[in-house]
Amino acid sequence: MKITMTEIVERALTGKPCSEREFDIRLSKRARELVKEYGIFYDPANPVPRDFGLANSVFKAGFQLFCELGVYCTSTNKIMSFSEEEVRYALKHAPAEVWFGEGIDRRALTPRKPEDKKPPWCFLGAAGAPVSSEQILSILVESYAKIPQANSITTPALTRVRGVRISPGTPLEILGAIETVRIAREAMRRAGRPGLPIMNLVATATTDSSLISALNSEFGARSSDGVLVGILAELKTNFALLNKAFYAKSLGFRIAGELGPVYGGYAGGAGETAIVTVAEHLMGLMVYQADWYLVFPVHAIYTASSSRELLWVRNISAQAISLNTNLLSLYLSYIAAGPMTEMALYEIAAQISSIVVSGVSIEAVGVAKSRHEDRLTPIEPKFAAEVAYTSTRLSLQDVNELVKQILPRYEDKLKNPPLGKKFQEICDIETGRVSREYLELVTKVKKELSDLGLPIE
């Protein structure tokens, strides 16, 4: 039988007590052991592996890790445990089709398989990157909605509302969260796509109270939108997150388990991070009863996901999930470089092409690590969508060869990436029109990628 949300909370309250430090160490050690037991090897020479036996081993190890360790609740310092039977039952009955959006933009998100010819779901936009004003948020979302491949929108996060910097847990955060939804809806209407779903409700809302406030339909949120509920690294949650999941679920929103395992962090190395990525999918399924998954393994030092190790972690974990489940997984690409740089476009090409052939869908793009205010334009997600559609015509082997040629073009710059220019320096702030210089740069890189085997139309 399906576990109810009440039972989930009960397990957080009555689970086995454990210190957080002990849980972290236990996770690291067990992940390391399982990598050895299952013979999982990271091969830097092949960042896009085509070894389904290896992918299946990653899945089995991740499944075992989750069932053995459970989930740590930092609010109670207790471990929530789940049996293998419970997890298998939940996997069997996980939704294999979830509908988002309204009117002509209503679409079903469905699973993909490695080398699937079906285009990925394109969740396009800012990936919660910071923007300094309501005006920039508005013009960006309007531009995102005009990208033909967009199935859903990922909004930026406002850092200021009415010119005042937002503080978490204050009414300013609630106001910022409400304004984000209201402005985004209006911007999509202007673009002629009022039914497009927002799948990162609500990027500006950090606390449970502001998220709950912003989900009120009065401000434009719809139950056909997606709500992200974070997983704390690694395999942890708390009551504020459970509050978000419980409330959004009760209103019928499509909940995503949002997981960003840290390579080099408690997960450990590449093999360990891949199995933790699988385990955290299962946590989303069991603890948040997620309908879909937003996945972004990141590098502890570079805080982006375009390095060689991270490409491997993303691709092998995506194949593991895609081959063994129907879970609806979207991988978010964080790039280190900023807009209007060749490096940014190469990072996008490497991540998007490989994750699409690995059998999942995409969220694009976290530009300049989603860290630097206003360092994003509509060009990066548009370019990502074009790469994604082109990649459906390629095989894992093709993309492996492609990525091997792209990586040397930016690998040595990951520590100190070029930040490029700000939105205001590249785009017309009234119309969103992109500078000719940037468009020419994109044309140049597309030509180079075409020569390497990625013929973007």
Binding site: S28, T159, I166, T206, I301, T303
Partner: protein
């Protein structure tokens, strides 16, 4: 057994992250009448540097770093108490570290804290979602040199500014070196809020803190 052999044993225990063995090695060094200060300088400090460098290259991972830091701390406690009778040993610096109010992310902060411990700093880790006043009260209580503030989210960065503003309002801003870091922050942000420094990565954060303390103490870096 020669002095170098005792020191080598201690180094091995620290690299292995074996707290119990590191403590025992330190106790043996004291019992054998070897110079505890020399043990800190020649066994612990070089290993701290190696461990930090290995983490920066991700040749080791966070759990290894934390366990080595714990082992170093255990050994250093034994050796320091042996020295104290002769002359007080000054720590590399006292650091109060926290993730600011509203933010519950701790990995980055934990990495910095572990590296600081490994490098001989006295670290007071207040955890996550910590109110500005609580951070300042702790700094006052322990006589900290540095307040280190982490924030992952753009929506929680302001908590760093709140600490600095409160220090100013209390008239004690100049008492402390305030450094900021975390996923959402930038050098530009650090300048905007009047922090003394910003670092993108944990190892850079440790170097920054060391440099700022040396500058404040008037020691040439």
């Amino acid at each position: 057994m020669s002095e170098e052999k005792y020191f080598a044993e201690l180094r091995e225990a620290i690299i292995a992250g074996d707290v119990q063995r590191a403590r025992e090695c330190a106790e043996k060094i004291v019992k054998e009448g070897l110079d505890p200060l020399k043990a800190i300088e020649e066994a612990i400090q070089p290993v701290a540097k190696i461990v930090g460098e290995k983490f920066e290259k991700l040749e080791i991972f966070l759990v290894d770093l934390i366990m080595s830091a714990d082992a170093m701390k255990a050994a250093a406690e034994v050796l320091t108490s042996a020295i104290k009778a002769k002359r007080p040993l000054r720590p590399a610096g006292k650091v109060v570290i926290a993730t600011v109010q509203g933010d519950i992310h701790d990995i980055g902060k934990n990495i910095v804290a572990a590296l600081l411990v490994a490098n001989g700093f006295e670290v007071y880790d207040l955890g996550v979602d910590v109110p500005a006043l609580k951070i300042i009260e702790k700094a006052e209580e322990v006589g900290a040199d540095v307040i280190a503030l982490s924030a992952l989210m753009t929506s929680t960065m302001r908590g760093q500014k709140d600490v600095i503003d409160m220090l100013k309002a209390m008239g004690i801003r100049d008492k402390y070196i305030v450094v900021v870091g975390g996923g959402a922050t930038t050098a530009e942000w650090a300048r905007e809020i009047g922090a003394d420094g910003w670092a993108e990565t944990a190892p850079e954060g440790v170097s920054l803190i060391r440099r700022l303390i040396e500058e404040k103490r008037g020691v040439k870096p």
